[in-house]
């Protein structure tokens, strides 16, 4: 009985929506509300491959995929490097300090996602804080174009996703046995050698998990590129969003979403294996 109820919840809220997205990729645009013709109607199969052929028609969506995956990989790498350093710093602080430091990492979260992005807009735009300061110091003559660039997107992404990387790394690093590193140091290893041969291998699974935990959501990110990226830098998340909200081509949005899922299947499977250990 319990299991049936659980299956029902999963079926309705997870499986059915995913199946419908899959199906909608084979629908076609039609005037009306909703603006689509479902692939299966009263007379049976009436689907089309229009949406999928659109996907492969030119390099537009392929570029959107590549751009999104590149930005996600860059974001995840930066989060991993910075997050590793921070997690190590927190884990080596005095025990009674650690909770406070973790709270300092998490607290910016509660200002809200959109407001954090508004802070970046305020910092980076032409009349923003950085340009105002640089201009008044006489370091530059004209405002630098900082907002609506790849760099602005990257800053916003790393800022938003950094805590996702810090938490799993901290959880692993805080549990490690300090005797291992002390033994290596006693045997004459330099601090860097200790880090490279002891600390890093110990934390490798957590590091891989942290990378994927950032990479997967970052690959489909919509809001950050929308607010900080250049209007013409179309990432796949934004492309899905635009097909749905602006072009109102639901089948194209669904086909793109299906393709994104297919691309992410491998990293997701990898993450789930790591998370289970």
């Amino acid at each position: 009985m319990i299991r049936t109820a659980a299956w029902l919840a999963l079926g309705l809220l997870v499986a059915a929506p995913l199946a419908i997205v899959l199906g909608m990729g084979f629908g076609s645009v039609a005037p009306g509300v909703p603006p689509v013709r479902w692939p299966i109607g009263a007379e049976g199969w009436q689907g089309s491959l229009e949406a999928w052929s659109l996907l492969f028609a030119d390099g537009y969506y392929l570029d959107a995929f590549l751009r999104a995956l590149r930005l996600a990989a860059l974001t995840a790498t930066l989060c991993l490097v910075i997050g590793f350093g921070m997690a190590l710093g927190i884990a080596s602080a005095r025990p009674e300090r650690q909770l406070l430091l973790l709270a300092l990492v998490l607290l910016p979260f509660w200002t809200g996602f959109v407001l954090r992005l508004s802070a970046w807009v305020g910092l980076l735009r032409d009349s923003g804080w950085i340009n105002t300061v640089l201009l008044s110091l006489g370091l530059i003559e004209a405002p630098l174009a900082l907002l609506y660039t790849e760099g602005a997107m990257l800053a916003g992404m790393v800022h938003g996703y950094l805590p996702f990387a810090v938490l799993p790394l901290y959880a692993t690093l805080a549990r490690r046995d300090p005797a291992l590193e002390e033994a290596a140091a006693d045997l004459g290893a330099s601090p860097f050698t200790v880090f490279r041969t002891v600390t890093l291998p110990l934390a490798a699974p957590a590091a891989a998990a942290a990378f994927l935990l950032v990479f997967i959501p970052a690959a489909g990110e919509v809001v950050i590129p929308e607010l900080l990226g250049a209007p013409d830098s179309i990432l796949i998340g934004r492309a899905i969003w635009a097909e749905f909200f602006q072009t109102r081509d639901w089948p194209a949005a669904a086909a793109l979403a299906t393709a994104l899922l297919a691309v992410l299947l491998l990293p997701v499977a990898l993450y789930q294996r790591l998370a289970r250990r």
Binding site: I2, R3, A5, A6, W7, A9, L10, G11, L13, V14, A15, P17, L18, I20, V21, W38, I82, G85, G89, S92, L99, L104, V105, L107, P108, F109, W110, T111, G112, F113, V114, L115, L117, S118, A119, W120, V121, G122, L123, R125, S127, G128, W129, H159, L162, A219, G220, E221, V222, V223, L227, I240, W241, F244, A254, A257, L260, L261, L264, Q272
Partner: protein, 266 residues
């Protein structure tokens, strides 16, 4: 070296937020320009009825979806931890974990299409709005609760429940008096997590909401696309203050809990 890294990282996280908070107290109409100390933007915030309405709606949806997510997550976590290997268990696990890894934009589109299909087939939900956002956020939150509940159940000492059953408690009585109190912390954590996720969500709500049901993040997103306002800075100060207070309260409760715990007899 380690401290330096941590300090730099914290600076990166906090600098934009502290700057935003500082300029919330500026008189100037242009955000991020100092025009002397003033509280006018907090007054403007308090007078912004659309924002307050959106915040109130967000809070109600967050509380409601966190509650439903906790119930459903308990159900899923229970089956995952206690039902052993049953037919379809790998599929069950994959579906239960899917909302954790699905990109928001895919999940939003999928849930919207579900609601549209249901409306076409059954006529329900008649329109999209708070109800559909509530369901969408519950679908997201339940996956997080399920993970926490499953982990907690797996770590429980089975002898506690066995002892209660041996002493004649019915399965429901065992659950109510032994299991539920023991997993309560994970349920509370899950509720809080689901509440936070719901309160901060832009993408799902944008997809599945309808006219007349604008949550706070969706409202702020649409405002930010039009341009920055100093009001946003003031709101950030208010939210940061609330979060800080909540965290402080939690720390006080945790500390008191630690003092009251009798020393173990090891």
């Amino acid at each position: 070296m380690r401290r330096l890294f941590l300090a730099l990282g914290l600076c990166f996280l906090w600098a934009p937020i502290l700057l935003m908070a500082a300029y919330a107290f500026s008189e100037s109409r242009t955000p991020y320009v100092w025009g002397g100390f003033s509280l006018r933007w907090f007054a403007a915030l308090a007078a912004n009825e659309r924002l307050i309405e959106a915040a109130w709606l967000s809070l109600r949806i967050a509380a409601g979806s966190a509650t439903l997510a906790t119930l459903l997550g308990l159900l899923l976590g229970w089956v995952l931890a206690r039902h052993g290997p049953f037919a379809g268990r790998p599929l069950f696990g994959a579906l239960a974990g899917a909302p954790l890894v699905l990109p928001e934009v895919v999940m939003g589109l999928a849930l919207l299409l579900l609601f549209v299909a249901l409306q076409g087939l059954l006529g329900w939900p008649a329109q999209r709005g708070a109800l559909t956002v509530w369901l969408a956020h519950s679908a997201l939150g339940m996956a997080y609760v399920a993970v926490l509940v499953q982990a907690r159940l797996a770590a429980l000492d089975p002898r506690l429940e066995e002892a209660a059953a041996d002493l004649g408690a019915s399965p429901f009585a065992v659950f109510r008096t032994i299991t539920l109190p023991l997993i309560a912390p994970s349920l509370a954590a899950g509720w809080g997590l689901a509440f936070t996720l719901s309160l901060d969500d832009v993408v799902l709500a944008s997809f599945v909401s309808g006219p007349g049901a604008t949550t706070l993040p969706v409202y702020l997103f649409s405002q930010l696309r039009l341009g920055l306002t100093p009001e946003a800075n003031a709101l950030a100060v208010v939210l940061l203050g609330l979060a800080g207070l909540g965290l402080f309260g939690l720390a006080v409760i945790l500390r008191r809990g630690r003092v009251e715990t009798p020393p173990s007899r090891e």
